[in-house]
Symmetry: C2
Subunit: 570 residues, 2 copies
C-alpha cells in the first residue's frame, strides 16, 4: 500500500460520496468520464511516487543556497517539475480555448494532493505557478494570458505572489511598495517584498511576480493597492528586470521551497486590470492558495498517518495490559489502545480533512450563488482546520514511532516540521478566525452560515440518531452562539474569542463530513467501510465534544483577552 | 529582562509561595539561609546566560559528529560544562560527608532550570551525570561512590543510563543484554543499547554507564534485570573498555546532546547492589530523570514564552478591530486579542508548570510517608503535562512571531524542536498515563490520589468561590471517575482511555497550583501580582473546562479503542 496517499480513499470520496462522475453531465466537463478522471489520478500517483517522493528528504537536507549570483537547488526538483509540466497536469483544468482539458476542480485537487503528500516543497513551485496563472486567466488581458500564462502552463515560466513586506505581513493596508506610471502605460516598481515563496531560482526560464503596490497618490489602506505583473526577465531580450534577490530565509521545514526577500528597484511592470483593485484580484489567488494550503496540510498529515500505521503494524513491543506474561511474545504496537487512539484520531483528521478540501473543490465545479457563498464561509476553515489538526496527525506519527520518529533517519519528523508552516502562510490561523467570525458568518445577513448549517442539519437528520443527534445539537448551538456574539454589534467584544469560534466551527464541519462519509458507506461491507464507520463514530463521540467548552466560553461573553492589561503578562 | 527565565517568578514561587526559607529549620539545611539560596540562584543565572545560552544555536547547527574514531562536539560545550562543574553546583545538593553542601532539592531544581532554559542540549550532560551519581550514592558501595561518584561531582567523569535496546524501548522486560559473572566477582557485559544520551563524546575523562542487563539463568521479565557500572575506560589503566560506539542518531532537535547506539562487547562491569534488583535501582534514576524531563519542558516553554512576549511588545502590525482607520499608526501586536490569547495561555502553562516542578522538588526536601506518596502520584504528571503544554507554549511562540518564528534566524523554532523530545524519552506520555491510572492512583487503596485530592480541595476551599468552585467540582469528578473506572477491576477496560485521564488529572493539578499562586499573591499590588491573578483566572475559566469532555468520555465507559479491529484503520 502506498504510504504517500490512499487511492482507495480518494476513489471513495470522489465517486461513492461526491458523485464526481455526475459532473460529466455538465457542458464544461462533457468530454470527460470516469476513465479520464482515473487516468489523471493514475498519472499523478505515478509521477508523485516516482519523481517527487524520492527527493523529499534530499531537498530538506540540501536546502536552496544563494551565492550572491544565483540560487542553487538540487537537480531533482527541476527534473520533477519538468515531468509534472510534460504530463499536461498544469493545463488540465483550464479552458479549452487556452489549450486546457477542462478537468473538474475536484479531480485536479485530488491529483495535486499526491504531489503535496509526496513532496510539499517541490510541489509548492507548481502550486504558486497555477495560482498565478489562474489569477491572470480571470483578470488579465488576452495579451497578458498569451505572454505570461501560456509559458507557465508549458512549464517554461513559474509564478509568485508578492504581498508581504517586512513591516506588512498580516496587515496588507501597510504595503508601501510604490508603482510609478510611465509614459508608455507601463509602470516602474520600487520597494521591498518579504516571504516570497519561489521568489528566485533557476528552475524556469522566467519568474512572473504578481506584486501588490501603491500608485503614487493612491489612497491609504487596501483601497490604494494595485496589482502588477513583474517578470524577472524581459520577455523579449531576456535581460534581468530590476528585481534583486536580497536574501533567502532559512526555515524550520518546507526547506526545499525558496523563500526570498526581494528588492524591486525600478522594475518594469504591467498593471493587471484597473488601479485600486489589486487586493480584490489578489484575493482570487489568495482564496485558491488558502485552499491549497489546507490541502497541503491534509496531504502532509495523511502521509504521516500512513507511515505511522505501517510502522505500528510492524513494530513489536510490549504486551496487552491484561495478561502481562513476560514469556508471551511482544505484540505489534497497533494492538495497544493508546497507539490506536493516536492512529484513529489521525485517521479521523486526515480523512476528514481530505473530505473537506474535496468538498470545497467541488463547489467550484458547480458554481451557483449558493455554492459560492458556501465556499466563502468554508474557506477559512479549509485553510485553518487541517493546518492545526492534520499537523497533529504528524505529531502523533512521531509519537507512534517513539524515539525513531524523532530522528532524521525516519521521514515523519520532516512532515511535522513542514506542516508547521501551514498555520502561518496565506493568513495565520488567527487571521482566518477573524475572517470567519468577523466577515464570513455575518455577510449577507448571515446567509452563508445559514446555508452551511442547513446542509449540516440535513445530513445529521439522515444519520443514525446516536451520531446525528450530537451534530444537530452542535449546529443549533453554533447558530445560537453566533447570534448572541453579534447581538450587540460590537466587534471588539464579538471577536475577542474568535479562535475558539473557528475551532468549534471547524470541528462541527468535520463531524458533518464524517456523517456524510458514514452515509456514503451505508450498507457496504469490508474493512474499508468498517473503517469509515469507526472513524465517524470516533470523531462524533471523542472529538466533537471538545467544542462544548469553546461554545461555553463564547456564550459567556468573556472579554478577559480584551480587558486585560498587557503589563500583567510579565 | 532576561529572556531565559524569570528570576522574579522563581523568587515568588520559592519564597512567597513555597516558603523555601523555612526549610532551614530542618537539620539537613541548617547551614543555609535565604542568602545562600540566592547566591546559588545568582550564579546559576550568570553561568547559564554567559556560558550556556550563547552556543545554543551553534550546538543545533553543528551537531556532534562521529568519524569512526571519536565524537567531535563544538568546544563551547566542554567549556560550559567545566564552568558548571567548577561552580560547585554538581555537589551542592549532596551530603556533607561526600563534600556536598546539602542545598535543598527545590533550590537545586530552580538553579538547574536556568541551564535547561539556556541550553537544553548542553545541560543534558550535567543532568544525566547527576542522576547517575545520585543513584550510586543511594545504592552503590562506599568504594563505588569514591571511584565513580566523586569524579562525576568534580566534573571529570560524566554518566549515562543504558536501558533501551533496539527491540526494547517502552518494554524493558525484553532487555536481552547479557551479564556473565567472572571468577573475581566482576561481570562481562554483551549486548546492544539504543538511545543512549551522552553515550559517547570527549567531554570528560571517562563515561560511567549504568547498564541494565540479565545475568545468565535469571528469570524472564523485569525481575531478571540487574544493574551494572560499566566505565568507558579502565579507571586504573585508562584503556578502553569493551564499549563501542556503533553510531549516533540524528535528531530533529536536542541536537547538541549525543544520542548513541552502543555495543557492549565483553565490557568489564561491576554489579550495583544485588542481582535481580536492577530495575528497582534504575527507577531511582528514572524518577529523577522524569522530573528532570518535565523541568526541561517547562524551561524550554518558559524561554519560548519570554521571547514571544518581548517580540509581541516590539512588533507593530495592524490596528484594533474596532476602528480600522488605515491612517492610524499600527499597534504592537500584544494589543490584539488572539496574540494575548497565545501569550496568556503560554504564561499559564509555563508558570503553572514551573510551580509543579518546584512543588515536586520540595516534596523531596520534606520526606514523609505522605510526601513520598504524593510525589509518586505526581511524577507521571510532572513528566507528561509540561511535555505537552509547555511545548504548546513554544508552538505559540512561533505563531506569535509569524513567518519570522518559522525561520532559523529566530530562536523559537529550535525551542519547539527541542521540546518535542520530552514527550518521548524517559517513558512516553502514553506510558505515563498507564503509570498514573494503572499504578499510582490505585496503589495503597488509592491513598495517593486521596491525598492529592485532599490538598486540592483544601486550597480550593480557601480561594474565591468563582475560581475555587470549578476546581472543587473537578476534584470531585476525578475522584468519582477514578472509582468508576476501577469498579470492575478489569485493566483492559479501565485503562483504555488512560491518556484522557492523565490529561484531565494534569489540568486539574495545574488549576490547583494556580489557586495556590493566587492565594500567595493575595493582597499584593503591582503588575507581577496582577499577572498571577490574571493567569489564575484564565487557567480556571478558559483551560480547566477542557477536562469536562475527557471525564465524560471516561465516565461513559467507552471501549472503542480496545474493541475496534485494527484492520479497519486502512
Amino acid at each position: 500500500m502506498s504510504k504517500v496517499l490512499s487511492r482507495r480513499d480518494l476513489d471513495f470520496l470522489l465517486y461513492e460520496w461526491l458523485g464526481a462522475e455526475s459532473l460529466t453531465a455538465r457542458e464544461r466537463f462533457a468530454e470527460h468520464s470516469r476513465e479520464t478522471f482515473d487516468a489523471f489520478l493514475d498519472v499523478s500517483q505515478q509521477i508523485a511516487e516516482r519523481d517527487f517522493a524520492p527527493h523529499n528528504r534530499a531537498g530538506d537536507l540540501a536546502e536552496p543556497t544563494f551565492d550572491g549570483e544565483k540560487v542553487t537547488i538540487i537537480p531533482e526538483v527541476s527534473r520533477a517539475l519538468r515531468v509534472f509540466a510534460e504530463s499536461g497536469l498544469p493545463a488540465a483544468g483550464m479552458d479549452a480555448e487556452h489549450g486546457g482539458l477542462q478537468l473538474p476542480h475536484v479531480v485536479q485537487r485530488a491529483c495535486f494532493l499526491w504531489f503535496q503528500a509526496a513532496n510539499t516543497a517541490t510541489s509548492a513551485y507548481a502550486m504558486l505557478t497555477a495560482g498565478n496563472a489562474h489569477l491572470l486567466l480571470t483578470h488579465g488581458t488576452e495579451e497578458q494570458i498569451r505572454r505570461y500564462v501560456h509559458p507557465m502552463i508549458e512549464g517554461r515560466f513559474t509564478g509568485t505572489m508578492c504581498l508581504s513586506e517586512p513591516q506588512a505581513g498580516s496587515s496588507l493596508s501597510d504595503v508601501t511598495t510604490k508603482a510609478t506610471p510611465q509614459a508608455d502605460g507601463t509602470y516602474r516598481i520600487d520597494g521591498g517584498k518579504m516571504w516570497i515563496s519561489g521568489g528566485d531560482h533557476e528552475l524556469s526560464e522566467n519568474i512572473i511576480h504578481l506584486v501588490l503596490a501603491r500608485v503614487e497618490g493612491a489612497p491609504a489602506g487596501v483601497k490604494g493597492l494595485s496589482l502588477f505583473i513583474v517578470p524577472k526577465r524581459n520577455l523579449e531580450t531576456g535581460e534581468r528586470n530590476g528585481v534583486v534577490l536580497a536574501g533567502l530565509n532559512h526555515k524550520m521545514g518546507y526547506r526545499g521551497t525558496t523563500n526570498a526577500v526581494l528588492a524591486f528597484e525600478g522594475a518594469a511592470a504591467e498593471l493587471v486590470g484597473e488601479e485600486g483593485r489589486g487586493l480584490a484580484y489578489m484575493f482570487h489567488m489568495m482564496n485558491e492558495a488558502r485552499i491549497g494550503v489546507g490541502s497541503g496540510a491534509v496531504a502532509l498529515g495523511y502521509t504521516g498517518y500512513l507511515h505511522a500505521l505501517a510502522y505500528a503494524r510492524e513494530r513489536l513491543q510490549g504486551r496487552p495490559v491484561s495478561g502481562k506474561d513476560p514469556l508471551a511474545p511482544p505484540v505489534p504496537i497497533v494492538e495497544h489502545p493508546d497507539v490506536r487512539r493516536m492512529l484513529l484520531a489521525s485517521k479521523s483528521y486526515v480523512e476528514g480533512g481530505l473530505a473537506l478540501v474535496l468538498y470545497a473543490a467541488k463547489l467550484l465545479d458547480e458554481p451557483s450563488p449558493e455554492n459560492d457563498l458556501l465556499l466563502d464561509v468554508l474557506t477559512p476553515i479549509v485553510k485553518a482546520w487541517p493546518s492545526q489538526w492534520c499537523r497533529l496527525a504528524d505529531d502523533h506519527a512521531i509519537q507512534v514511532h517513539g524515539g525513531y520518529g524523532y530522528t532524521r533517519e525516519y521521514p515523519v519528523e520532516q512532515f511535522y516540521r513542514d506542516n508547521r508552516l501551514n498555520s502561518i502562510h496565506e493568513g495565520t490561523d488567527g487571521i482566518q478566525a477573524l475572517d470567519l467570525l468577523g466577515r464570513k458568518v455575518t455577510m449577507r445577513g448571515g446567509a452563508g452560515l445559514g446555508l452551511l448549517l442547513d446542509r449540516i442539519r440535513a445530513t445529521a437528520s439522515k444519520a443514525p440518531a446516536e451520531l446525528g443527534g450530537p451534530v444537530l445539537s452542535a449546529a443549533d448551538r453554533l447558530a445560537a452562539t453566533t447570534a448572541k456574539l453579534w447581538a450587540t454589534g460590537d466587534p471588539s467584544s464579538a471577536l475577542v474569542n474568535a479562535t475558539a469560534y473557528l475551532d468549534a466551527a471547524g470541528h462541527l464541519v468535520i463531524a458533518w463530513l464524517w456523517l456524510e462519509q458514514l452515509l456514503a458507506a451505508e450498507g457496504k461491507d469490508g474493512d474499508f467501510y468498517q473503517g469509515k464507520r469507526l472513524a465517524a463514530r470516533y470523531f462524533v463521540t471523542h472529538e466533537l465534544p471538545r467544542i462544548g467548552p469553546m461554545l461555553d466560553l463564547l456564550d459567556s461573553g468573556d472579554t478577559l483577552l480584551r480587558d486585560m492589561d498587557d503589563a500583567w503578562l510579565g
